[in-house]
Amino acid sequence: MRKGLIVLLSFVLGVFGLLAGCSDSSSGESKDGEVEISYGFWDKKQVPAIEEIIKQFNEEHPDIKVKTELIPYGQYFQKLETAATGGALPDVLWMNGPHIVQYAEGKVLLPLSDLAEKDDYSLDNYPESLIDLYTVNDEVYGIPKDYDTTGLWYNKKIFDEAGVPYPDDTWDWDMLKESAKKLTNKDKGVWGFAAVMGNQGGYYDLIWQNGGHVISEDGKSVGFDQPVAIEALKYNISFIEEGMSPTQAQMNETAASDLFSSGKIAMMFDGPWMVPEYKKNPDLDVAVLPKGKQRAVSIHGLSNVIAANTKHKEAAWEFVKFLGSKEAAEVFAETGTVIPAFNGTQDAWLNSVPELNLQAYIDGAEYSNPLPSVKNTGAIWQHETDILKKAWAGEESVEKVVKELADKANKELEE
């Protein structure tokens, strides 16, 4: 029996080993009038910039000590959810678009509109679409920190060899398709375009360019099953069908960005976060996205938010204001990691890699649409991936999958 017990115990322990969670508490202490607040974020690359900003902040506010909490992105939102459940969020923290509604409606974040009004803090200093992104039920919850749009990256060498002119702001969908056709070279193993299945900088942008919508204004339905959206998805997939793009399976095995940076793909849509990677290959450059029926590009950016139950509201707000200031934006721009959201401070970022036409990203901000954010954005994204991939792989028709997707996504919106 003892033997049995041990076996039984080991299996019970084994099964539930995977359920082990963890929580962490963080709260400020005050001594001698000094206040300590914590700042949660995920990107290790931005630590030097953040440390510099805290140093500058302390010159103005020597009595507010900021403790940084770096949590890798893979665990960030899992950890935040646990922390929020236990009332232990960092005082100030990074937030992204897909999660803002869930956190704002869950009442774990502090609304900032009143504070901004009281202090005369202008929200006009940031791209409007970013303020919209962090506005939930008419309350602003986040002060924009940075942003990213999408550009059309291209390989100049492949263009020169095929005698195709470089993309510019006159390009439209037909031009993209025609050029992709000319650039595709089966013998050399070169594809004209990578029709990556991705929402930001992918089919969302195309749906908007074709005059469609992703989520309706009342937030009750999705627009994937509308004729304009179907047309946009079909346009996207047609590159694969006509052999101008690697197949879905090929792009699953080897990331399109790897194929692109090694000269196997002539053009693809990608975000500014790829600049550090793509700048290594001198053949690559970037232009604005081609236009469809209209110009459109998706925009997403992070913002700094404050936990609702912070013990040091004033100190946290002072810090968030400083993080959203011109000085802080300039520090971010100079380190070249992100496009700062504060209007007019982007020049420093442009100059961080002068040989690339980074202006394309900033031009895009003018006609950008924020990534839709609803209470259960994560679930809708999951459905998009699960369902649309069947169309991308050519297993099912676009008409069929969008119907399934719309049904499932609309159900999520009802909840």
């Binding site: 084994g14 082990a20 869950g106 080897t254 679930a379 991936t385 991939k389």
Partner: protein, 313 residues
């Protein structure tokens, strides 16, 4: 790990203990104090979460720890969940291949490495290396090997005129590609357990058998295998449980945007999706409970069947 060959020894010790049945109470108290850290740890980190998981499987999870009692709804929902059924099927196929094949191959390797050959330690180390390698690293390396356009495997196949398949993105093949990696990476671990089991078999048996004129094959089936059966039993229970919890390789090797995912995702993968991606922790808890029940039943069956083939002595 329980050193099964020492069974006899332990029994003898217990016997001695019962003679000294007038142990002072304080001795027991100290014993309990000594095991308290482990017991408290077990209770806080395993038993309590387990009970909570059971409770939450009857709830619907909202944002930030809010939940609502919904009775058996999570369980009735399972009945019509196509993905759950498919993931049980995938896990079944996975178990069917990895457990018997894995045990067979590790016994084979253990018996071979139990011989007196030159460089045994080196071979043992080599076979054990995948066990101490991070699963993520294993997954990444095999992903490159399997790459249909640039991978080594298809490159080698091209020499003999075979156009290799898309190992990880073809829905009909992907699961088997992963199974191969899982078996490969699991051999070393079981091998070490079998080796210790083999070394617990007294040499005298073999000597006696040799005197009687038994060949190596007869000796293997008449001596080695029966005496190894407690270890085989232990390994088969552990590998079965491990196989039911199969997750990391799928997570690392199969892209979410691949149509092969549906044909490879395991029960635990589905659990992960519901718990951490879809934030549907109530349903995820129900899946975990179902998994617990299934493993429990299968383990009980295994325990019952052991009388038929496991020899302790």
């Amino acid at each position: 790990m329980e050193p099964l060959p020492l069974q006899v020894e332990t029994k003898r010790k217990l016997h001695v203990l019962s003679y000294a049945s007038t142990k002072k109470r304080s001795d027991y108290l100290w014993a309990y104090i000594m095991i308290a850290p482990t017991m408290i740890g077990l209770f806080v980190f395993y038993l309590w979460p387990m009970l909570q998981t059971f409770y939450f499987s009857f709830t619907e999870w909202g944002a930030f720890g809010t939940y609502e009692w919904i009775g058996l709804k999570n369980y009735t929902r399972m009945l019509s969940d196509v993905n759950l059924l498919q993931s049980f099927k995938n896990t079944g196929i996975y178990i069917l291949f990895t457990v018997p094949l894995g045990i067979f191959l590790s016994i084979l390797v253990a018996v071979l490495l139990n011989q007196k050959i030159k460089g045994t330690t080196i071979y043992r180390t080599l076979y054990f290396l995948p066990v101490i390698t991070m699963p993520a690293a294993i997954a990444m390396v095999w992903k490159w090997l399997y790459n249909s356009d640039f991978g080594l495997l298809n490159y080698l196949l091209s020499f003999i005129g075979i156009e290799g398949p898309q190992w990880l993105t073809n829905p009909n093949i992907a699961l088997y590609s992963i199974i191969a990696v899982a078996i490969w990476s699991g051999i070393g671990y079981n091998m070490v357990i079998f080796l210790s089991g083999l070394q617990g078999i007294p040499k005298t048996y073999y000597e006696a058998a040799e005197m009687d004129g038994a060949g190596p094959v007869t000796m293997f089936f008449k001596i080695t295998l029966p005496l190894l059966s407690p270890v085989i039993f232990f390994v088969s229970i552990m590998s079965l449980i491990g196989a039911f919890q199969f997750f990391d390789l799928i997570f690392m090797m199969i892209s979410k945007s691949s149509t092969a995912l549906e044909n490879t995702q395991s029960i635990v993968y589905l659990f992960y999706q519901h718990a951490f991606v879809l934030n549907d922790k109530g349903y995820a808890a129900a899946i975990a409970v179902l998994l617990l029940v299934v493993i429990l039943i299968i383990t009980v069956i295994q325990m019952a069947l052991q009388k038929k083939w496991v020899h302790y002595d």
